[in-house]
């Protein structure tokens, strides 16, 4: 193919860029909740999220392994059956920074999330969901052990 004329080359590159999503409008994000994420205790993290009080609820289903062979990758799957759940936060009580993630669901999104988290040691994984202007919570213990030949 003889040298591509510059115009054609530019238009090809534009098409490629569009496909790769580079030309999408730059997405703005709300400020990262520094206070909550940098809290060193679960209680402070919840305060940082504006959670004054929360009641235990069986309508928050946490699927997580009882024993994780190592703390680098611990899959946590959360489903909220509370009507019009607005957000789900995942707090790992014994982590140096307990708040791991918080997701806000607009209409069209189910209150469900699956994410792999890191755990420094065996700990309770606590979930706080906001629904109908009130906060609900549930937790599950995950034990972290040494796997493999530990050598």
């Amino acid at each position: 193919m003889m040298a591509m004329n510059p115009l054609r080359r530019i238009s090809l590159r534009l098409a490629g860029a569009l496909a790769a999503g580079l030309l999408l409008p730059l997405r703005a994000f709300a400020a990262w909740n520094k206070e909550a994420f940098q809290s060193r205790t679960a209680a402070d993290a919840l305060k940082g999220l504006g959670v004054a009080a929360s009641s235990d609820s069986k309508d928050i289903v946490i699927e997580a392994p009882q024993i994780a062979e190592n703390g680098q990758v611990v899959p946590v799957e959360v489903t909220s059956q509370l009507p019009n759940t607005k957000s789900i936060a995942v707090v790992i009580e014994k982590n140096p920074f307990p708040l791991a993630a918080k997701f806000e669901f607009g209409d069209g999104a189910l209150p469900y999330i699956k994410v792999n988290v890191k755990m420094g040691e065996s700990s309770f994984v606590r979930v706080v969901a906001e629904a109908g202007g009130r906060f609900y919570t549930a937790s599950k213990e995950v034990k972290v052990t040494i796997g493999g030949c530990g050598g």
């Binding site: 024993i67 994780a68 680098q72 799957e77 040494i146 493999g148 050598g151």
Partner: protein
Amino acid sequence: MNRFAVLVVVLALGVSRADAQDTKKEIEKYQKMIADSSPVELFELQGETLWKKRQGPSNVSLKRCDLGLGAGELKGAYALLPRHFKDADRVMDLETRLLHCMVTLQGRSREEATKRVFGNADTPSEIEYLSAYIAGESRGTPMAPGSAHPKEAAAYELGRKLFFYRAGPWDFSCASCHGEEGKRIRMQDLPILSTPAAARPVVATWPAYRVSNSEFKTMQWRINDCYRQMRMPEPNYASDLTVAITTYLSVTGRGEPYRGPGTKR
């Protein structure tokens, strides 16, 4: 060096003596959950890029590398390895064959091509990416490593002897750990690799991504790291010895449809 010990604290006190059986069930549930959400696809994608990338003094890609089914043919090629290659008159596993193509097609020196064959979580090695991609192209194909050619039969026989050969200051052979039913090191179950039933699922899922250190591992690494823990000197990369062991394991586990690259602990 032991990243586990640094990051992971075992709950020393207050753990009720979990019955070993349900501990094992829980670990299996954990392994299934991590396999579902594994980033191993990313390694296959990067491997495809490297397969097509022009490299070396000859400035060509690996697309003309013959993995046994003809130049550039990838579909199902991995499942037929290790096998004998006429051009080199040698039995080769995937990594040995890739190295051969890097040297013969791309004109790279063996020394340069093997400078960094085992990567890490930050920068995986070229051959790890390539292994992920090429292995992925055999998904669904039953493993059928070479065994008819005299050199293939010899490699199998040598591999079998090596599997049971005890050496080094700790007198270990592969069979010391992979020789008896239902045994484990720490929480790690040890398949009896000398029997088809145990070898098949292993052979069908290597090479693999390891979640514990976010690293992609190949068979050459697996053999290398076993010998390290057996307190032996280091095996030469892609040597006849390593290919013989892989031949023995692959032939023992043949017939299983390949379903890797896998995701392991």
